[in-house]
Symmetry: C2
Subunit: 357 residues, 2 copies
DNA sequence: GGCCGGAATGTGAACGTTCACAATTCGGAT
DNA sequence: ATCCGAATTGTGAACGTTCACATTCCGGCC
């Protein structure tokens, strides 16, 4: 013990100090020592294993409390090969729909003690960003991936995901066999269009979302179907990018077309733009033109005028998505498609068409 | 080797199979074997350690590509004691500000190859939710915590966080010595109020946010300071909860008060509600009453009328917050407060007061 | 009173990395 | 030729859990 030169022993001290400079968090072993049991018993208590004597359990719990012990999720994930983390493949935009869906997922995950890792795909730079996104997800060893994004961008990404990983798409239908949770966009759009026709409009115009978003397509189909049912020819569609700005531009074009009395807009943000454009053109809503949106964002009720729209329960989609994902993970078989129904909310922006002179 | 009974060896086979039922991801050892080097050399290549011969590096990289190898973040985090994860303590609400700040953090984190774990505090059930939130953060062994939430709720949580953990507050100032990134709300509010006074309004009313949000307080102070500077007495304030609905209610009350010609509303969503209420009361904006908001959400430009407001660059706050956090983590000293400046955006909702008869 | 079986506990080896240090190789200067 | 020191590579032990299995304890039964 005494045969080492002093400087050498000094080094040891320095190193030891550097290692555990701060007391750091207590680990399972510390708890075990304090409670006078083995680490395995501590583990059993944590995981609620039945075969632990009550007295022992108490001692361990007390020690845990005393040391403010927290199990280390990293170590646990490594040993158990379950990270308790779900990856979300999102889209880099401030859209009401996707972001509230994310919130729903987030809430549900928190309840289930799962963590969420969000990775976003940027619109441009598709190839690089997809690689990196998939890479991150794979490295984090997520237990599953929930996709909230237009298929065009995400389809690539999904292909590259490690195989065997559960994948769930929200609001989209990829060709692959993949579970899906969706709002019934088609019927929502029908509802909206039908509402306008029922009010007496000769036809209904449509401002659609970007064609690479499945939602946009389905809403368009629903609109068209409602017109077909009524035996009304479909006017040409205008297309926006979901933003209020693009809605405004479409609205301006619409304002220049004579005879337009009703518009079904594919989301509320664009509908706001349309209202703005019509107001600017001194066209009265709903006196001269009726406008119906889609989503029912919280602000829609306070647009001027209050917007008639189709409510989607994004929060529910998110919750439901997470629940489904968890089912997929522990192998319960799940319905391959879950539908959430939208409802029509009638407010002040839709009314009967102006009397024809 | 042959001295074990057959059934025993059989058992082994079964277990082995169960263990590696799926080929699973390649691990470092597999790469090492394929490249004919030790696992440590592979590690060196991954981490860009300099002392690796070019030829060796190439062989390793090739093996990695061939096996589609991904380092396991869990194992890495465990060994290195750095999780490359930042915790975000958020607030469970669909507010424009916080959620775009989060988006900014998220974007910046992704660039830096950091993961984000979001934990939200729900408004009610404060005690329980705080415990759980802090617990999750601690278990995930985050390297730091960014707080985006009103101080009242978050203050508790912050206190319980493991000590030694870097904490950064966005848009808030806790008493503790804690780094902060803020938009200069005070001056933003002054700008807005001043703008209205400059237009000739005798005074400016204010609809404030909830009093436990620091932003709300600072905006109110800025408003009051501007009035003081002009030697104008401050009318009583109304208070909302950031939502369009609460803005609408405040707007209705305001509409009933004679002589109001200018209102500064603490955020755009409430301002929308105010516009709606005024429109309903057939009060012309900006003809009879001018309205100025705060935030400049993308929709504000398309309100009816287009909203004059104060722009905050939330995205920048988020980015800046993450950058600061990373600096804190690797010990660079950082300014204890970083300010981002807001700018006034004048649109159609503000104008000169109506001529007095 | 010994023995049996289940409950309760302990032991050592994973999990997939990085760290600390030891061993080997290599190019040149002696 | 020989040896030195730096560059390169390898070895074994962490990191903090859980898993598989071994061991001990204990009550009751023949």
């Amino acid at each position: 013990m005494q045969d080492r030169p002093d400087y050498d022993r000094g080094m040891d001290r320095v190193k030891a100090t550097a290692r555990e400079s701060v007391p750091g968090r207590a680990v399972m072993h510390d708890v075990a020592r304090l409670a006078g049991v083995s680490h395995q018993t501590v583990s059993r208590v944590i995981n609620g294993h039945p075969n632990v004597r009550d007295a022992t359990r108490e001692r361990v719990l007390k020690a845990m409390r005393q040391l403010d012990y927290r199990p280390n999720a990293l170590a646990r994930g490594l040993a158990t090969r379950r990270s308790r983390t779900i990856g979300v493949l999102g889209f880099d935009a401030e859209l009401y729909g996707p972001s509230s869906t994310l919130l729903g997922i987030q809430r549900a995950a928190q309840e289930q003690q799962y963590a969420i890792t969000v990775v976003t795909l940027s619109e441009k730079d598709t190839t690089g960003s997809v690689d990196r996104a998939v890479g991150m997800l794979a490295e984090q060893s997520v237990e599953g991936v929930i996709v909230i994004a237009p298929s065009s961008a995400a389809a690539h990404a999904v292909r590259d995901l490690p195989r065997g990983l559960p994948v769930l798409a929200l609001e989209a239908s990829f060709g692959r066999d993949m579970r899906v949770v969706v709002v019934d966009q088609y019927n929502g759009a029908r509802l909206a269009t039908r509402h306008l026709l029922d009010l007496g409009h000769r036809t209904v115009w449509h401002i659609a979302g970007p064609s690479d978003w499945p939602e946009a397509l389905q809403r368009m189909e629903g609109w068209r179907a409602a017109l077909d049912d009524a035996g009304v020819p479909a006017p040409p569609t205008l297309t926006g990018d979901w933003s209020a700005r693009s809605g405004y531009e479409a609205g301006r074009r619409l304002a220049a077309i004579p005879g337009v009395t009703a518009v079904f807009v594919a989301n509320d943000q664009m509908a706001l733009g349309v209202l703005h454009a019509l107001n600017e053109a001194e066209i009265d809503v709903p006196g001269q033109v009726s406008v119906v949106g889609f989503d029912d964002m919280p602000e829609a009720e306070y647009f001027v005028p209050a917007l008639t729209t189709v409510r989607q329960d994004f929060n529910e989609v998110g919750r439901c998505g997470l629940r489904t994902m968890l089912d997929m993970i522990d192998g319960s078989d799940v319905a391959s498609e879950t539908r959430v129904s939208p409802t029509l909310i009638v407010r002040a922006s839709s009314d009967r068409p102006p009397a024809v002179d």
